[in-house]
Amino acid sequence: MSKDNSCNITATGREALHQRQQAAATADRRVSVAIRTAWIAGLAVIALLIGVTTWSIVGARASNTTGGGAIDGLIAPAAATDSGAVVIGKPEAKVTVTVFLDFMCPYCGQFERANGGALAAAIANGTAKLEVHPMSFLDDLSSGTKYSTRAANAFVTVANHDRATALVFSQLLFAQQPAEHSAGLTDATLAGLAAQAGAPADVVAAFGKRTYQPWVAKITTQAFDSGITGTPTVKINGQTFTGDLYTAGPLAEAITAAANA
């Protein structure tokens, strides 16, 4: 009797245990399926991210090399020197002021606002001539419109027509300088400013051809290869000017000093 009873209890107990074990096994299986799914999904995302990243690196490399290598069909502006500068002023002027700039660079704008007047005066009275290297390395800061290149192209196009007009145009470009990460000035605004500076309509109409775009890319690379690390870089008779670029005075004094030397 007691044996039967104990047998019955054991049987019930075993069944309950079995059920618990089965439930636990089902739960375990569910958990391990969830874990496996998470790993597969995670690894897939990782593969995808690596793919996207690699693809963008390869794309960037390709576009950079074609950008730098599209020197075939390169047209150098007549107004420019071999070193990539547009020279403004009397060739025989005693002092040469060299400026590496990007029309998008805010500090170049600050430099222009502080020293533009003094430079124009020194050019006008024959003390100095200005060599402008219009670079385009901030092209990525104009929401894809390549403002630096467009402005530089417009600047040299005007310079081909007349250097003095180009200087006025450059001052207007800095006076209306667009903010970084904006779309830059539109082509229409560039044309308007050039006309305001005194460029004739046929010169302005040529902006759209982007004739000097490859040249601008070339001289930008060339400037960096020659050791320029940023803009504005200002040189007086070949010596880098290390004084204060952003307040009126120091540069003008240095020009006077060089003229009297």
Partner: protein, 206 residues
Amino acid sequence: MPEGFLPWLRGLRQSDRWIYSTMLVSALLSLTASFVLSVDAIILAADPHAALACNLNAVISCGTVGASWQASLFGFPNAFLGLIAEPVVITIAVASLGGVRFPRWFMLSAQVVYTLGLLFAYWLFFQAYFVIGALCPWCLLITLSTTLVFTSLTHVNIRDGNLYLPQGAGRLASGFVRADLDALLVAVWLLGIAAMVITKYATVMF
């Protein structure tokens, strides 16, 4: 691959030695970056023109990040916070490697404070990425190392049950960590951040 390498690796990942070593290395990286950025901030304060020239490699920058209001949200350079906080993490990591066990409330406090730091670091990252539109390499190193410190701190706190989580959540969290899903999550996260940076700046970087 030798038999049993994966189990060995997974065991290592759960060990104090591994967790606190990675915490130590990440905190040292973070401290270094904070130090560099603090020194930069002082140089910039002394001579605002020091960073004015638009640096090419910092197309990325023009001193833009350092000069932004976001860079000193609390009225002093953010990097000072790293100089204050990271030595504490370094102390915790070194002491723990030496066998010290901190009370639960202590580890929970560390977790809370560091979580705030992580949120701040990511707020800065997204500000730099979307609003300032410039990135500085040292700031990116801080984003990375802060993430790694947070990861190892969270890992150890879940493993040791220091977070006072309700029972269900605690079991879920420790199961998650035991299955190494935290490592997977962090890998996906960091790769995502790297992909964001590279796809946006690829033409400048490569």
